[in-house]
Amino acid sequence: MNSLSHLEKKKKIRYMVTICIFLCLIFTTFLLSMDAGLIHLSPIDVLKVLVNHGTSQQELILFDFRLPRIVISLLVGSGLAVSGAILQGITRNSLADPGILGINVGAGLVVVLFISFFSSMQVVPVFALPFAALMGAVLTATLIYILTYKKGQGLSPMRMILIGIAVASGIEAALIVLTIHLDPRQLQFVTIWLAGSIWGTNWNFVLTLLPWILILMPLAFSKARVLNILNLYEDVSKGLGMAIEKERLILLGIAVGLAGSCVAVGGNMGFVGLIGPHLARKLVGPKHQFLLPASALSGSLLLIVADTLARLIVQPSEIPTGILVSIIGAPYFLYLLAKSKA
């Protein structure tokens, strides 16, 4: 029996190595990111601050500005990537992600509604925006589910993608109408949000996001086995005794919860949910026991790199991170599409 699991051992080792590499890269970028910006905080400075020997200004920058933002990048990146991996598993299509299914713009729509509602008031309760976004994501996902579900046929993966794209178009049209009625300041804000920027940059937002990630992520990991089987031909999964509709629904819920909460804090960040799992799949293979954790890490890495670049390229202002992710992500996506088999 041992010789049979030789390949399996190899795969496991490869997986471990990949995880370690990811962690190292993330850590390195973390240090670089701390350093990036108008005021430089070299790793030595970081260390000094951590042991309470830094200046109060350094402490402020580290703890109140950079650290929360980096933590959020990590969390959002991992959440979106895992969400994408789940959706790709459910739809059996490696080109699905929460953005394409319109979940992100759905969140955006509710955010815009929220903001335009408060146009009369000067103060927009910013802290409530994440909840608006989350609500939007859930509503959109519910809509897509209802529309895709056909009695007797259940949830067809292909149909879900097309309907997701349709719903996304509809929501975008609605968004366009709404954005006209905003004043320039609101419009600027909305445009930036829609482009995807880690605008939630203090610890409150971290706390808002954390419970979602802490609960949903392990839940997703525990469903790895189910995802493996769902990825097979549908009749085979049924033949193996899986309650397909129920499992799909649960997994969809997890994916939407992750995507919604991440978008709520990180804005309309497309492509992370697509590229993260793809990269992971190329490195560790399609088994979800490996794929999900690897996706989480690759998503985090992608986002933290993009975010750092976004802050560096056009100093002192910044490009919304989402735009950078799109610029990196879309060409790669198109390349994958061109290379993909039907």
């Binding site: 029996m1 049979l4 030789h6 390949l7 399996e8 059996r92 007797g152 525990s222 086995r225 493996n228 089987i229 990825n231 097979l232 031909y233 009749d235 085979v236 049924k238 033949g239 193996l240 005794g241 899986m242 309650a243 293979g285 399609p286 088994k287």
Partner: protein, 275 residues
């Protein structure tokens, strides 16, 4: 006799009734072949028997119990199905695929138990795929791939194996490979095998029991001698055929030579209904 049998099975596809009031009894420990023309409903019947498709009315009983009223996972321990043209994700190896066959028995995080590993090993061995254990399925030949899928169905440890057109897209050698494997499984392991096949002569040579289906109804049922007759062939397939005796085994083989009735040439305009 404990057998798998259907009772007044009515199966509809969307709104079209395909199978009406089907009462079929599948003998235990034998190979049964479902045959019929394209669109006769044979695959649909197999899917309903394997509870992949829910019937509109009626039920399927196994050991006296309706399989629709049992949890799907429990049924998966009694009955396994290999659907038509199964596809596997890229890069999946034979070993991994066969391990999925243990899904009905797994709990929690799903680590493979000793029992699981034993079954997997046995399944891969009995299908002759041991040397391909670590090979990705998409790199295998048609026959090898089919054997890998059969190994997965075997790993489920069921007494009944359902196969939907297991040989349709294989060349002659691979067809023989698969059929001989099924015969071996039946003979040595006493598995009940139900398969949908297109080639009547395969059915005759390898099956104990043939069920000929036309438009969702059983036209003829029984051993090859009973079913492979001129009359049945005419009725079910619309062909005139000579029946000869196989030189090696004596089972009837059919040699079609003429169509029963004239049919309209396919009008090219019929393609315009792509809407």
């Amino acid at each position: 006799m404990d057998c798998l049998h259907t009772a007044q099975l009515n199966i509809a596809y969307v709104d079209r009734l395909i199978v009406e009031d089907l009462n079929l009894c599948v003998p235990e420990g034998k190979i049964t072949a479902l045959v019929g023309a394209n669109g006769s409903g044979k695959s649909t019947i197999l899917k309903a028997i394997a509870r992949i498709m829910k019937p509109k009315k009626g039920s399927v009983f196994l050991d006296g119990q309706s399989i629709y009223h049992q949890p799907s996972k429990e049924v998966a321990k009694l009955l396994s199905i290999l659907p038509q043209n199964p596809t596997a994700p890229e890069g999946l190896t034979v070993g991994e695929l066969v391990s999925y066959g243990r899904f009905p028995y797994q709990k929690g995080f799903g680590n493979l138990t000793q029992e699981d590993k034993k079954m997997i090993h046995w399944a891969v061995d009995v299908t002759g795929m041991l040397s391909f254990y670590d090979r990705p399925i998409d790199q295998l030949s048609g026959g090898q791939r089919q054997r890998a899928w059969i190994a997965m169905a075997l790993a489920q440890g069921t007494n009944i194996l359902c196969l939907d057109e297991p040989t349709t897209f294989l060349d002659m050698a691979h067809q023989l490979e698969v059929l001989k494997l099924l015969k071996k499984l039946n003979k040595e392991e006493h598995r009940t095998i139900i398969m949908v096949v297109h080639d009547l002569n395969h059915a005759s040579k390898f099956a104990h029991n043939i069920v000929a289906i036309k438009e969702g109804r059983i036209v003829s049922e029984g051993d090859p001698q009973t079913v492979l007759t001129k009359g049945v062939l005419k009725k079910v397939f619309g062909i005139e055929a000579d029946i000869i005796s196989d030189p090696r085994t004596g089972v009837p083989l059919c040699l079609p030579y003429e169509l029963v009735q004239e049919h309209d040439p396919v009008n090219i305009d019929s393609r315009m209904s792509y809407i």
